[in-house]
């Protein structure tokens, strides 16, 4: 056989092999539409025999003794629910302690008082009256992500492809036909089950705090199963009085006193939320200028400009802004709804102030609107966003930016003085109100030192300029403008840190970030 011929015959073989590779022959030989086998009986033991009655709801129950960290539940949730590549509604974290480790599977706790639902401005959450399942209405969601800030267990997950959040619905469609949720079906050691749980068994106290309670599990174990009052689900999780989660974690092993979330010491930098940073700074500047406009009515133009810029940029934060008109649905519970209402009224009033509405009224409405902004964050139960800290931050910004803006535009020395004083006061107050926020302060030191330094330098520069402006009135306009610019950027930096450094409560996570 000549070389050429051999070459030709090999081409034939290659073509033949390539063609053969594309044939799915084994499938034709073996495939069938298999039926579900005996596993159904196995997992039917993991479901209640009857649906919940009045005063009851479905809940997850996790046997920690059987949860040994294989994490099949996470993968099965993804596969059996057809989720996106990175999506799963279940996670597995870890507790560690003296000679101790315990993996913890976790999904939505289908809380009795779901913070996600309470925070949603458009009622995109529904707590099913029969089953207690907290369901997210994907088509109702406007993608504001407030539920992600409200939920202390990191349950609602952002879906960038759709511009909405999605979350676990306990596989309600499966439960409705007597099938177990994906995670329950997939757990090799039957660690997850669905139980009926009596509702209203958690004491609702007014003092919802964020301190973890190591004794939570112990309390639950020693107490009567149905009437136990855990103060928190697990070590390093938020007090259960905030949302009244319904998941039960049980174990026959004793948990050491030093048991803690494996990721307790992980310093996590949270998303910046640029539209919110700019919206907050601009609207607070606007309200400050609105107050200035009581004395210098010409400022109304700038104040309104800042207001509409702020409101405009806030829309960028919504994944699906076209549904935002439904904001009034949440007015009864959601501070987000109230904020939208307050700023809508303010917008009308500000425009009205050009004709007949008193500027003072707009200024007052502005302060109310800033109050609703503050409440949005205060309502998330995070130490970094405590009432005191947010009041100082938000109203401090109103004062600082309003006064220095007014001073820069009008050259009014009184406002320069107010700006200088409020800057100094803010400096002092900020240190005080951050006490107890160790984790966030560590994040600032370790991860955000550049921006924190920029904020300090700019704030000091602003104050120096303001002091010089008072000393050299001839230069007041230039120095005032410089001070305002510095102050404005410092406030943006401050607000970036506000979002990035917040220590968000969560379920125990993995070993590292």
């Amino acid at each position: 056989m000549s070389a050429r011929h051999r070459h030709a015959s090999e081409m034939t073989l290659i073509d033949q092999l390539l063609a053969e590779q594309q044939q799915l022959t084994a499938v034709e030989r073996f495939s069938a539409l298999h039926e579900r086998g005996h596993v159904q009986e196995r997992y039917s033991a993991l479901l209640p025999a009857t649906p919940p009655g009045p005063g009851e709801q479905y809940a997850f129950e996790v046997n920690l003794d059987a949860c040994t960290g294989c994490k099949a539940c996470v993968a099965a949730c993804h596969s059996l629910n057809g989720l996106d590549a990175t999506e799963s509604f279940r996670d597995v974290g870890l507790l560690i302690g003296d000679g101790y480790q315990q993996t913890v599977t976790t999904a939505c706790h289908h809380c009795e008082d779901p913070a996600c639902a309470n925070g949603c401005p458009v009622q995109a959450y529904e707590k099913d009256a029969d089953t207690g399942i907290v369901k997210h209405l994907d088509d109702q969601c406007i993608g504001c992500q407030y539920c992600m800030l409200k939920c202390p267990y990191e349950v609602p997950k952002w879906n960038d492809r759709l511009g909405i959040v999605r979350k676990c619905d306990m596989c309600a469609q499966r439960l409705a036909v007597g099938e177990a949720p994906a995670c329950v079906q997939a757990c090799p050691t039957s660690a997850i089950r669905i139980v009926k749980r009596r509702t209203g068994i958690l004491p609702v106290t007014s003092a919802a705090g964020i301190l973890p309670d190591v004794g939570g599990l112990e309390t639950r174990r020693t107490g009567d199963r149905q009437n136990a009052c855990p103060t928190s689900l697990l070590p390093d999780t938020i007090t259960s009085t905030y949302t009244q989660p319904t998941t039960t974690y049980s174990s026959s092993r004793s948990m050491p006193a030093d048991a803690r979330a494996a990721d307790r010491d992980v310093l996590r930098v949270q998303p910046t939320h640029w539209p919110l940073v700019l919206m907050l700074v601009l609207t607070q500047l606007s309200v400050g200028l609105m107050i200035g406009a009581i004395w210098h009515v010409g400022l109304l133009w700038t104040a309104s400009g800042a207001l509409f810029a702020g409101l405009g940029v806030s829309v960028l934060h919504l994944g699906r802004p076209l549904g935002a008109w439904r904001f009034f649905l949440g007015l009864r519970k959601s501070w987000m709804s109230r904020e939208i209402l307050a700023f809508s009224v303010l917008a009308g009033s500000a425009l009205g102030s050009f004709v007949l509405v008193p500027v003072t009224l707009s200024a007052v409405l502005g302060l109310v609107a800033v109050f609703t902004s503050a409440m949005i964050y205060i309502d998330t139960q995070r130490a970094w966003w405590s009432g005191a800290r947010i009041s100082v931050s938000f109203f401090g910004t109103v004062a600082k930016l309003g006064a220095s803006g007014t001073a820069a535009i009008t050259g009014d020395a009184v406002f320069t003085t107010v700006a200088l004083l409020s800057g100094a006061l803010f400096w002092l107050a900020e240190t005080r109100v951050q006490r107890g926020c160790d984790k966030s302060l560590r994040v600032v030191t370790a991860k955000l030192s550049g921006i924190a330094m920029a904020k300090r330098v700019l704030a000091v520069t602003a104050m120096v300029c303001q002091a010089m402006a008072l000393a050299f009135p001839a230069w007041a306009w230039v120095l005032g403008s410089a001070a305002f610019a510095c102050s404005l950027i410092a406030c943006v930096c401050e607000r970036v840190i506000f979002f990035k450094a917040v220590d968000a409560p969560k379920m125990p996570g993995g070993l590292t970030a």
Binding site: A26, V27, F30, H34, P54, T68, V74, N81, D139
Partner: protein, 773 residues
């Protein structure tokens, strides 16, 4: 009665409630929907459809299903592949398979995802540039032949894998040895199972793991030594959890692992004190008079010498050297001496040691002396690592002559040559070099060409910087893999794109000797070809197409494997073909043709449970263990007691490197240098993205290391960075790092067990310091 009436009222109330809501919704009509849409295109994305398989995502409803064995670990779970138009779209765990009973670990659930990775190889690459298969195969042949012509056949070696189907392994081994005429072929099974294979071969006379998974459920005392099945083999752990006999579960492991947490007894021995510890236990068991004299007399040899030998391992010495108290040692010995069903299970903690073969045999000895073998819930059982390590051990033509034969035996050579239709002179009477010896010769330049298939030497070989320096010296490195992006493939002169699991046919053999099927349920991307087809192409290009004319398809090779197995302990002549494997839910070896004939030839009226057993037809059962008759595979039918004096670990901690680094599996979600598992976003969620080191809080405090701080871990070989995790699940003086971060093997110390040549990954000396200090 009261409860009953109450619940019926509840039911009525709840029905009434839902009716009212429905009426309300209907009454408000379109306006309600406008205000609040509980359905729509986004909601429907997560909608379910009811199918015979249960509720499934509406977007992923299959038109058919087929089941196949998972391609990650040796548990050998069956996955039910959901097909649409013949192609896989999703999967679930198979309920009707005796291995996994409807469960899978995260790797199994994500088994299809790595096939769709964007970095799949779609064309051969020559020096990084795409070439056609014709050029690639000619290049392969020309380069290999030129090097053989110049430096001899000893200058070429193959490093293969436990990840491809047995039929491909057989073809590769036959082509390399009988086609290319080279001798050195080894595989990454050397890194995981060589010790178990060697230990069994020496002790039992054949590489024969004796157990079946039902033993997990039927045992009274389960002893796990150097094994962490909770995360390494979660589906085997499922079987442990299904045990209804309230078993004692003993874990022997320096770390307080997930399995140690779940056990009833944990003995945290000092690293590499296992051999002393096990000899001490044997001594205590003898002292208790708990040996099975009858079994020893009938079925073993060498017991007296062993009993004499272990006398030196008195309980105080063992306590001192292992760090386990005398009371605990006695407690453990009592469990073994309990006369209940005791099963011993080991994996990498034993296999990857400097005296691992003797350690595995110390476990085997415990089982033999107490008669805990060949009965339900007993055995000295190696939990295998890779999906087809067992296929490799028998049919890869590397560590034995194909089919578990001994090339030194003329009758074996004649048999193999006859079945394969080759000249007997093509069969070298000596086996080739082991992986470490091949790497040594690569480093010193004696081996010039290396062909690597479906393994990632650059990452996984011990002391990896030295290994990579060696690979740089090669004149010709050919890597055949699914991805041109593995650490090793990136160094290749010639890259051949391989189809993966799910894109080809063949069979795997799992840890309990069960042969299961792999099927073609996806189209391989671009021009990638199955390893089998690449071998057909290369054999043809080499000019030995005639020799391999019989090797036309995986199933044709399976027929050859059957013939080769005849008369061997791994006899599979009773397996008719792939359909039978499918029908029976996998078939364990041995499966001898004669058994079925005996049974079917029997007149109907004579068939009973008793005659079923007497004619040997129990060999047809789905779950079988070996050695029920107490007869082993040595010529005298006896198992051997084998032992040696323990040796100090090769690299002891020193003042400069005071800590012992233990490496191992950190998560169930990573596999095999993460080449495939790293393609799944879901699996990536399940482990830290960056390398970490677990260190005892006391050690950390002494070094001034805080939790989550970046630290440097240094050995005599290299230094790497990691995040410090403070946990007392590691002992003082030890640190642990997961092997799936590629930098970890830069630290490990290249020591090898002298019998199995398996690398000792589990212990080397390191120091830890704060980065920047």
């Amino acid at each position: 009665m009261r409860d009953g009436s109450a619940s019926s009222e509840d039911g009525d109330a709840s029905r009434a409630g839902s009716e009212k809501r429905q009426q309300g919704a209907a009454g408000q009509g379109g306006f309600a929907t406008l205000l609040r849409s509980s359905d729509g295109p986004l909601t429907q994305q997560l909608g379910h459809t009811s199918t015979p398989l249960g509720n499934l995502p509406a977007s992923l409803v299959p038109t058919a299903t087929t089941s196949m064995v998972c391609g990650f670990c040796a548990t050998g779970c069956s996955l039910k592949i959901h097909l649409r138009d013949g192609e896989a779209i999703n999967l679930s765990a198979n309920e009707d398979y005796p291995v996994n009973l409807g469960m899978a670990c995260p790797k199994g659930w994500e088994a299809l995802t790595p096939l769709d990775a964007p970095d799949r190889g779609t064309t051969p690459l020559w020096n990084g540039k795409p070439v056609c298969w014709s050029t690639a195969s000619q290049t392969f042949v020309q380069r290999m032949k030129a090097i053989i012509a110049e430096h001899g056949p000893e200058s070429v070696a193959v490093l293969s894998t436990g990840q491809i189907v047995t039929e491909e392994m057989a073809f590769l081994g036959a082509f390399a040895k009988f086609g290319m005429g080279i001798r050195h072929i080894d595989s990454n099974t050397r890194q995981c199972m060589a010790t178990a294979a060697t230990a069994y071969k020496q002790s039992f006379g054949f590489d024969a793991p004796p157990f079946t998974y039902a033993d997990f459920e039927e045992s009274d005392v389960l002893v796990f030594i150097g094994a962490n099945p909770c995360i390494a083999h979660p589906i085997m752990w499922q079987r442990v959890m299904m045990n209804q006999r309230s078993p004692k579960i003993v874990v022997v492991d320096p770390r307080r692992t997930e399995t140690a947490m779940a056990a009833t007894h944990h003995y945290a021995i000092k690293p590499k004190s296992d051999l002393t510890f096990l000899y001490g236990l044997a001594n205590l068991v003898i002292e208790r008079g708990a040996v099975d004299d009858e079994f020893i007399a009938k079925s073993t040899s060498g017991y007296e010498a062993f009993a004499e030998f272990v006398k030196a391992f008195d309980v105080e010495r063992v306590s001192r050297e292992s760090g386990i108290s005398v009371a605990q040692l006695r407690e453990f010995a009592d469990l073994i001496a309990s006369k209940k069903r005791v099963s011993f299970w080991w994996t990498m903690g034993v296999n990857q040691g400097h005296e691992s073969t003797r350690t595995a045999q110390a476990i085997i000895n415990l089982a033999l002396m107490t008669g805990n073998i060949g009965k339900p819930g007993t055995g000295a059982n190696s939990i295998t690592g890779q999906c087809n390590a067992m296929g490799s051990r028998l049919f890869a033509n590397a560590t034995s002559l194909i089919g578990g034969h001994d090339p030194a035996k003329p009758e074996h050579r004649a048999k193999v040559a006859g079945i394969l239709g080759i000249e007997e002179s093509l069969i070298h009477p000596e086996l080739g070099l082991a992986y470490d010896q091949i790497m040594e010769r690569v480093a010193d330049g004696r081996i010039k060409a290396l062909w690597v298939l479906a393994t990632n030497t650059s990452h996984s070989w011990i002391d990896s910087e030295a290994a990579n320096r060696a690979l740089e010296k090669l004149e010709f490195l050919c890597v055949q893999d699914m991805y041109p992006t593995t650490d090793t493939a990136k160094r290749a002169h010639l890259y051949l794109p391989a189809a993966g699991w799910g894109e080809k046919e063949g069979s795997f053999i799992n840890a309990e000797r069960r042969i299961g099927l792999v099927k073609k349920v996806k189209r391989a991307p671009g021009q990638s070809l199955s390893d089998f087809n690449i071998l057909r192409l290369l054999a043809s290009a080499w000019g030995c197409g005639e020799t391999f004319a019989k090797w036309s398809s995986p199933e044709a090779v399976f027929e050859l494997m059957k013939q080769l197995s005849q008369g061997q302990p791994c006899d599979i002549t009773g397996i008719e073909g792939y359909e039978m494997i499918e029908r029976e839910g996998g078939v364990q070896w041995p499966r001898v043709a004669q058994l079925r004939r005996n049974w079917t030839a029997m007149p109907d009226e004579e068939r009973s449970e008793e005659t079923f057993a007497s004619c040997g037809a129990t060999g047809l059962l789905s779950e079988r263990r070996l050695f029920e008759d107490g007869v082993f595979f040595h010529e005298d039918g006896r198992a051997k007691f084998l032992f040696d004096a323990p040796r100090e670990m090769p690299e002891m901690p020193s003042e400069e490197f005071p800590l012992v680094l233990l490496s191992g599996r950190g998560t169930s979600a990573q596999w095999h240098t993460n080449t495939r598992t790293g393609k799944s976003e879901v699996l990536k969620r399940l482990h830290p993205a960056q390398c970490y080191v677990e260190i005892h809080p006391d050690d950390a405090q002494a070094l001034g290391i805080a939790a989550q701080q970046r630290v440097q871990v240094a050995s005599r070989r290299s230094a790497i960075e990691a995040t410090a995790v403070l946990t007392s699940t590691v002992q003082r003086g030890n640190v642990f790092m997961p092997m799936h971060y590629d930098e970890v093997n830069k630290l490990t110390f290249a020591a090898f067990d002298p019998h199995s040549r398996q690398p000792s990954y589990k212990a080397c000396a390191v120091r830890v310091s704060i980065v920047g200090n």
